[in-house]
C-alpha cells in the first residue's frame, strides 16, 4: 500500500493522497503529498473510517485542478459516485486504492470500524428501536407503537449535527437543518420528529448506507436503520439505488411520464 501511494505521488498521478496515519496508536485522516514522502512510513490501514470522500470533495471544491487520490472502501466508492452525479467532484481527477472492507464468504477480516451496532440493552429493546433490527422487523408493529419507539429514539437527540457533518453525501452549501424558517438552529432540544424526518427526506436518493451517521451519533439513535428504510422505499418506488452508478436520483429531474399512482383515501382504515 505504501509503495502504491508513493508510486502515485512520484509519478504525478495524484497531487495529494488521502489516507490514514498512525498517531500514538490512533489512525487519523491524513493528506500525504509529494513534498513529505517520508510521512508515508506512518501510513496505516485499519478499521478507522472517516469520510475521506467528503474531504476529497472539499479539496476539489477549493482547487478544481488538484488530482486527488484516496483509500476507498465500498461505501466510499458509492459516495464518490453520488458526489460525481451531484457535480461535487470530477471522477477523472480522482484515483482510488480500494480496500477489502466488508466481510464475505471469501474473506472474514474486515477493515471497517462499524460492522455491527452495539447490542441494545433491555430498556432500549422494550421502548426504543434496536439498532441491529431490520426495517422489515418493525413493520408488523402497530403504527402507534412504531411512533412511540421512534419518538423515544428521536427525543434523545442533542442536535449535535454529527450525522450531517460526517455524512459524505451531505454537501449542500445551505442546510435545511439550520434554516430558521424550517428548523430553528438554536432551539434545544430539537423538535421531533421533524428534525430527523427532514434529514431522512434529504437522504432519499442519496444515502449510500455507510453507517457513519450512526457511528458518529453520541445518543445511539438508529439512523442507519431509518435511512435503510428510506433506501428501501426509493428502491421500491423508483428502482433506484444511490451510488450504484452515476445516474441521477429520481428527485433530481422531473421525468417525462408518471410512473406512480395515487393512493386511494380508504386504502387502510385500521385503527391507529
Amino acid at each position: 500500500m505504501k509503495e502504491q501511494v508513493r508510486d502515485l505521488l512520484e509519478n504525478h498521478r495524484v497531487d495529494v493522497f488521502l489516507a490514514y496515519k498512525d498517531l500514538d496508536g490512533h489512525q487519523i485522516p491524513w493528506a500525504f503529498d509529494r513534498d513529505n514522502l517520508d510521512e508515508l512510513e506512518d501510513l496505516e490501514v485499519g478499521p478507522a473510517r472517516y469520510p475521506l470522500d467528503k474531504l476529497a470533495a472539499r479539496l476539489a471544491g477549493a482547487k478544481p485542478e488538484l488530482k486527488i487520490g484516496l483509500i476507498a472502501r465500498d461505501c466510499n466508492h458509492r459516495a464518490l459516485k453520488v458526489m460525481a452525479a451531484g457535480h461535487q467532484l470530477d471522477l477523472d481527477k480522482v484515483e482510488t486504492i480500494s480496500l477489502a472492507c466488508c466481510p464475505s464468504k471469501l474473506q472474514d477480516h474486515a477493515a471497517c470500524s462499524y460492522l455491527e451496532p452495539e447490542p441494545a440493552g433491555a430498556y432500549k429493546k422494550s421502548v426504543g428501536v434496536d439498532n441491529r433490527a431490520d426495517p422489515q422487523e418493525l413493520e408488523p408493529l402497530r403504527p402507534k407503537e412504531r411512533l412511540a419507539r421512534w419518538s423515544y429514539e428521536f427525543e434523545k437527540c442533542i442536535k449535535c449535527y454529527g450525522c450531517r457533518n460526517i455524512c459524505p453525501v451531505c454537501y449542500c452549501q445551505e442546510c435545511s437543518l439550520e434554516h430558521p424558517d424550517l428548523i430553528s438552529p438554536g432551539r434545544l432540544p430539537p423538535e421531533t420528529p421533524i428534525f430527523h424526518l427532514t434529514r431522512a427526506v434529504h437522504m432519499a436518493g442519496r444515502c449510500v448506507d455507510c453507517g457513519l451517521c450512526e457511528e458518529a451519533c453520541p445518543m445511539d439513535i438508529p439512523l442507519r436503520l431509518l435511512y435503510r428504510e428510506v433506501n428501501r422505499i426509493v428502491l421500491r418506488l423508483f428502482d433506484f439505488q444511490a451510488g450504484a452508478d452515476l445516474s441521477q436520483s429520481p428527485f433530481n429531474f422531473l421525468g417525462d411520464k408518471m410512473t406512480l399512482e395515487l393512493k386511494p383515501i380508504e386504502a387502510d382504515q385500521e385503527a391507529r
Binding site: 421502548v127 422505499i233 422531473l254
Partner: protein
C-alpha cells in the same frame, strides 16, 4: 375526548390552476363540504416541499392534503410528475414512522367541483376516524409503557 367532538385540522395545499379553481367552483356552485380544511394556494403542487408538510404535522395538523392537476394537465407541463414522486415517498416514510394515512395527494381539475367536495369529505371523515394526530393535543405521552 369523544370521537364525535373531534374536528380535525387539515392543511390543504392547492394548485392555483386546478384544485384552487375547483374549490372556487364548489363555492360558487354552493356545494357543501366539511369546514375542516385550511387552504393554502400554491402556484404548483410541485412547490410543496416535504419541509412544509413535515412542518404542518409538527405544528399540529391532523392531516395534509395536496391537490394538483391531472397528469398531462400541469400548467408548467411536468410539475405534478415531481409532486407524486415526493408525496409517494413521504407517505411511505410517514407510514414507517407510524404517522401513516394522514397525507393525501389527489388530482382535481378546476372543473371538478364535485370531486373536490368528495375528496375533502372522504379525507376529513378518514382523519376524523383516525383521531387527533399523535403529535398534538393533551395525549402527548407517546412513550411506550415498560414491558409493552
Amino acid at each position: 375526548m369523544a370521537e364525535s367532538a373531534f374536528e380535525p385540522k387539515i392543511l390543504a395545499f392547492m394548485c392555483n390552476w386546478c384544485t384552487y379553481g375547483a374549490a372556487d367552483l364548489a363555492g360558487v356552485s354552493r356545494l357543501a363540504y366539511p369546514p375542516n380544511i385550511r387552504p393554502v394556494r400554491v402556484m404548483c403542487s410541485a412547490t410543496v416541499s416535504p419541509h412544509y408538510i413535515l412542518r404542518a404535522f409538527q405544528d399540529g395538523a391532523d392531516g395534509v392534503l395536496v391537490g394538483g392537476c391531472h397528469p398531462g394537465d400541469c400548467h408548467y407541463l411536468a410539475g405534478n410528475y415531481m409532486t407524486i414522486k415526493r408525496i409517494s415517498f413521504l407517505q411511505e416514510l410517514l407510514e414507517f414512522i407510524g404517522l401513516g394515512g394522514r397525507l393525501h395527494l389527489d388530482w382535481i381539475s378546476s372543473a371538478e367541483a364535485q370531486k373536490f367536495v368528495a375528496v375533502i369529505t372522504q379525507f376529513t371523515e378518514k382523519v376524523k376516524k383516525m383521531g387527533p394526530s399523535p403529535l398534538t393535543g393533551e395525549d402527548l405521552n407517546r412513550r411506550l409503557p415498560l414491558g409493552a
